[in-house]
């Protein structure tokens, strides 16, 4: 019995840091609607800064003062980030801030290694909380008891802050209705900055408090960020109580789960999230999101099919790309094949995001399923390459059909998180089911047959399939289905009122996107000759998001350019420098500030402005005629 009590208390202690970080993320999202990917980076910075401060200043005061000072210092960094970077992009398309904060995360990962060195750092134990307390023969670390007490205290302080202060009331109002606060004449800039600072402070405090029980290292951010997203979503976005309950729920399920299924940790949070989202789509304590209002100041140029001149231009570009084997070497062709494959992958996600309005955080699942599909068919069934290439993507299609059915019942961030949960579940299966998938050692020897084995043949094959996929997706965009799908994205209310079953349209779009991603994955398996669980992983999903956002989510085919630019930059940087994350992150942040609509989106806006200026007198005449 004592054991179960202690296990319960241990779970509560684990929940503490999760709660601190999650509550900060939740507050920031509630008010600013920013999906702050950099939250894990602030957590890690908190730990590093606290390590330095607590090493420098001795004694209890030095330790506890160091912890709090570290959180304050990092909060200040957060303020600077908010004022210099995020303020410029609040009016950018949805999720664009995710791209910026992702770029920051990449930079911070390299920066901490540059500043603090590559080794794992062992922080001091907390003065006064070094030992353990005996509880009927079981030991409970006294620091755990401290954490167990701390998190309800923080919860209480936050509650008071939100219920009893003017600032808190404004924050709550803004969480419910952002426009209203703007209408009240509140200085929104100040409110956003202060909210961001508080959120970052909590993240950094969560990190700083880890130093007596963890090692400080440069992968801490990734270790926590996804889990924190999950906790926030389970609890309900914007709900602090929800974050608390979810953190406790997840930690306790883990503490007791490992007694029965020792291998459960890897998948647990995602299983819980998937179940919660299917049963309670807005999380345990969340409220249904008000339908997203379109950001003011954003005019979208209506989409149109390419004119005949543009079509000629596209064909010329394709022919130029096809000429690569005559000028480039083997390496250039292999890189070219890889880029072509990522064009397919990015275009499929772009279709889902831009046309369907559904931002998936787990699109790699279908890419990876396509790759595993090919690996199973080629290695285990021994089918020829053509057959495997044709049938392999069907696994992506099947996965998308099953998971998509549940995902499209949700919208917005909840949709994104359910896609993430499914992707992680698929990843865990690939990772753990060693007998079938080979686990993390993957499936090897999936090489193309002779006719496609040469770098040039494989490049042409990839290029042709990529071109075909992009053309087909464009045709669908400008088909009656594409129009109706955009209609469900633009106005669910109106599309329902003209007889469109939005869920069915979105589900179909999900399956199309999943199948096309699967085609990309199938080619990828042959390009690399092997399949690993990475190809289902979060970082690949995030890469795809970055490509889409970089190209421009409000464009018809921006992802093509986004994929080419991102993948080429990525391959080149990884090859040239060990600090590729720092450079790539900086590049992304710069792009976000310079091209707030993505590369293609910005170009289109410039073109449109130019066209409008040159035809301005004419249109004025036209409108006068209409007025009469």
């Amino acid at each position: 019995m004592a054991f179960y009590v202690v296990q319960f208390l241990t779970g509560l202690a684990s929940a503490a840091s999760l709660f601190l970080v999650a509550s900060g993320l939740s507050i920031i999202f509630g008010v600013t609607r920013i999906v702050n990917f950099a939250h894990g980076a602030f957590y890690m910075l908190g730990a590093y800064v606290a390590f330095t401060l607590t090493e420098r200043f001795s004694g209890a005061l030095g330790f506890w003062g160091g912890i709090v000072a570290a959180a304050l210092v990092v909060a200040l960094v957060g303020v600077i980030v908010e004022m210099v970077l995020l303020r410029r992009i609040y009016h950018s398309p949805e999720l664009f801030q995710l791209l910026a904060t992702f770029g920051l995360t990449l930079m911070v990962q390299d920066l901490v290694v540059l500043i603090w060195g590559p080794d794992d750092l062992l922080g001091r134990r907390a003065p006064g909380f070094k030992g353990a307390v005996d509880f009927f023969g079981q030991n409970i670390p006294s620091y755990d008891l401290f954490l167990i007490v701390l998190s309800p205290v923080v919860l209480g302080i936050l509650w008071l802050l939100f219920q009893r202060t003017r600032w808190g009331i404004l924050v709550r109002a803004a969480t419910q209705d952002r426009d209203m606060v703007a209408a009240l004449g509140v200085n929104q800039k100040w409110l956003f900055t202060s909210v961001f600072a508080v959120g970052v402070f909590l993240a950094a405090l969560g990190g700083a408090l880890q130093i007596p029980r963890d090692a400080v290292h440069h992968a801490m951010d990734l270790r926590i960020i996804v889990e924190v997203f999950v906790v926030v979503v389970i609890g309900g976005l914007g709900s602090i109580i929800g974050a608390f309950v979810a953190a406790v729920l997840v930690s306790e399920l883990n503490a007791f789960g490992i007694l029965i299924f020792p291998k459960i940790s890897i998948i647990l949070v995602f299983l819980v999230m998937a179940v919660v989202l299917i049963v309670r789509p807005w999380g345990l304590f969340g409220k249904p999101e008000a339908p997203a209002r379109r950001t003011p100041g954003l005019t979208v140029n209506p989409w149109r099919p390419l004119t005949s001149n543009e079509r000629i231009g596209a064909v010329v570009a394709l022919i130029a790309a096809a000429a690569l084997p005559f000028v480039g070497g083997n390496y250039a062709m292999t890189v070219g094949s890889e880029i072509a494959i990522f064009v397919i992958f990015a275009a499929s996600l772009h279709f889902l995001m831009a046309v369907g309005g559904l931002a998936s955080f787990g699109h790699a699942a279908y890419f990876g399923l396509g790759a595993y599909g090919v690996a199973f068919l080629a290695k285990m069934a021994g089918l020829p390459m053509i057959v495997s290439l044709l049938l392999g993507p069907l696994l992506g299609c099947l996965g998308a059909a099953v998971f998509g059915f549940f995902c499209v019942q949700l919208s917005g961030v909840y949709f994104a998180m359910l896609t993430l949960a499914f992707a992680q579940i698929v990843w865990s299966i690939a990772f753990q089911w060693v007998a079938v998938t080979g686990g993390d050692n993957g499936i090897l020897g999936v090489w193309p047959e002779k006719w496609a084995a040469g770098p040039a043949s494989f490049y042409w094959l990839s290029l042709a399939i990529a071109a075909l996929c992009v053309v087909v997706l464009r045709l669908i965009v400008f088909s009656p289905f594409g129009y109706a799908l955009r209609a469900t994205r633009d106005s669910p209310l109106r599309s329902e009122a003209i007889g469109i079953n939005a869920k069915r349209m979105q589900w179909t779009a999900f399956v199309i996107a999943g199948t096309v991603a699967g085609i990309g994955g199938a080619l990828f398996a042959y390009l690399k000759g092997s399949v690993f669980p990475d190809s289902l992983g979060i970082s690949l999903s995030v890469d795809a998001l970055v490509m889409v956002l970089l190209g421009g989510v409000e464009t018809v085919s921006g992802a093509v350019i986004g994929a080419i630019v991102f993948k080429a930059a990525n391959i080149w940087l990884v090859s040239q420098t060990d600090w590729s994350k720092l450079v790539l992150g900086g590049f992304i942040v710069l792009m976000v500030v310079a091209f707030p609509k993505g590369i293609v989106g910005t170009l289109e806006a410039i073109m449109a402005r130019w066209r409008a200026r040159s035809s301005a007198p004419k249109s004025r005449v036209a409108s006068m005629e209409v007025a009469e």
């Binding site: 054991f3 202690v6 241990t10 779970g11 684990s14 390299d110 590559p118 080794d119 794992d120 062992l122 353990a132 079981q138 030991n139 670390p141 620091y143 755990d144 029980r213 963890d214 090692a215 290292h217 440069h218 992968a219 801490m220 270790r223 889990e227 930690s251 503490a255 490992i258 007694l259 020792p262 291998k263 940790s265 890897i266 083997n330 390496y331 292999t334 890189v335 753990q432 060693v434 686990g439 993390d440 050692n441 993957g442 090897l444 020897g445 090489w447 990828f524 690399k528 000759g529 092997s530 690993f532 990475d534 190809s535 970082s539 990884v574 090859s575 040239q576 060990d578 600090w579 590729s580």
Partner: protein, 401 residues
């Protein structure tokens, strides 16, 4: 970072100083090297220093049959797919004579499969998986570091002497952890049929929630514990275990923990008396190692980690193979490498013909605390050759070429 150029410049200066005339461009032999520099800098930085020292020594001694050795190094970011892109660049664009390196098992396997497909010689440096020389072995791939199986066998030799009968295991939940536990259990049960396995914990790699894990193991009340976690997970496990008294009165056998990479971060929390494999650089008194240690400390003003040894010996081995083959033809390289013996800081090693595994061994000893730092004591060098299965068994494990 223009590492290549810096290295080139440094080499040019050194070579010019030693031999008095710079080598012509055509008089170069290039080796391609791939590792997870950005993902695992704590392990790959000492490794890089090790191979850079080797390059310097080789060229100072006149290069490979008179040709200057150049190593072109690439980062794989910890991703098998990126490792393949890098391998491709090295082979296609840089025309390297062979590929070396890799740390993670899955990346080692990915590059090994690439080497097999493209018919390129590959000398795997650090990956531990048994598959790379056995189940998924191929004729183009050789491996330097003692494998999972060998390290398990070395530990079992000591562990079997313990009186403990009830064992629990803690291992990261991926292929390395799973196969380490499987091999250890198999070999241990062969020697000690009386052993019972009372609990197993499988925390996710890099994400251990140490409190509940420690508590769960303690609840099973084992007499001994096998640990396979390492890095930040190990730190968390040790801290929680120390506070909760998990290790008190229990024997612990632990993979790799004696390597400075993993032992040093534990500082004053280092648990005492664990039976570990590792690298006690401060305690090795052989002329070969002294020479290496002096050169390393002189060049870097730092002590070596195990990665330094692996990096150093990888390039030394590559050079020895290239020198013997006197060609960059992969078939000749394979012929040269099979059965090739060479000196190393740990004594003479041989690349076995049967499975392309080197006989580099490891040190087994016990952890201890000295001046607030973790060290290994009672260490003994275990030769790799003594801890490999019989040839007949190996032949069964390895696919025919």
């Amino acid at each position: 970072m223009q590492r290549r150029h810096l290295l080139g410049a440094a080499l040019a200066v050194v070579v010019a100083g030693m031999s008095g005339n710079a080598m012509a461009q055509s008089g170069e032999i290039k080796i391609g090297e791939i590792n997870s520099y950005s993902l695992l800098p704590a392990f790959t930085e000492p490794y890089r220093k090790g191979w850079q020292l080797a390059v310097e020594e080789i060229n100072a001694a006149g290069g490979i049959n008179g040709k200057k050795l150049v190593v072109i190094s690439k980062d794989d970011g910890g991703k098998p797919a990126d490792a393949q892109t890098a391998a491709n660049e090295l082979v296609s664009s840089e025309n390297v004579a062979m590929l070396t390196g890799t740390f993670l098992s899955n990346i080692g396997l990915a590059v090994s499969d690439f080497a097999n497909q493209k018919k390129v010689f590959f000398l795997a440096a650090e990956p531990l998986t048994d598959a790379i020389t056995w189940a998924k072995g191929n004729r183009y791939t050789f491996r330097l570091r003692p494998s999972n199986y060998m390290q398990a066998a070395m530990l079992v030799e000591q562990a079997a002497k313990l009186p403990a009968k009830k064992w629990a295991t803690i291992a990261p939940n991926y292929e390395y952890g799973q196969s380490a536990v499987a091999v250890f259990k198999k070999l241990m049960s062969e020697k000690r049929p009386d052993i019972q396995w009372v609990d197993e914990q499988w925390p996710p790699q890099g994400k251990i929630d140490a409190g509940p894990v420690v508590q769960a193991v303690a609840a099973a009340n084992p007499e001994a514990i096998l640990n396979v976690t390492f890095g930040a997970d190990l730190v968390k496990l040790v801290r929680e275990g120390n506070t909760r008294g998990l290790f008190k009165g229990r024997s612990v056998v632990s993979f790799l923990t004696g390597e400075p990479e993993y032992l040093d971060p534990l500082k004053e929390e280092t648990p005492e008396g664990w039976i570990v494999t590792g690298y006690p650089w401060y305690d090795i008194k052989t002329p070969e190692h002294d020479k290496f240690l002096k050169a390393y400390q002189a060049k870097y003003n730092d002590y070596p980690r195990l990665g330094s040894i692996v990096g150093y010996q990888t390039i030394k081995a590559a050079a020895a193979i290239l020198a013997k083959a006197n060609s960059t033809d992969p078939e000749k390289l394979i012929a040269a490498a099979e059965g090739l013996s060479m000196p190393s800081p740990f004594g003479e090693i041989t690349f076995r013909k049967i499975d392309h595994q080197s006989t580099l061994g490891a040190f087994v000893g016990k952890t201890a605390l000295k001046d607030g730092k973790g060290i290994m004591v009672d260490t003994a060098y275990k030769k790799g050759a003594d801890f490999l299965p019989s040839d007949a068994e190996v032949e069964k494990l390895r696919p025919k070429d």
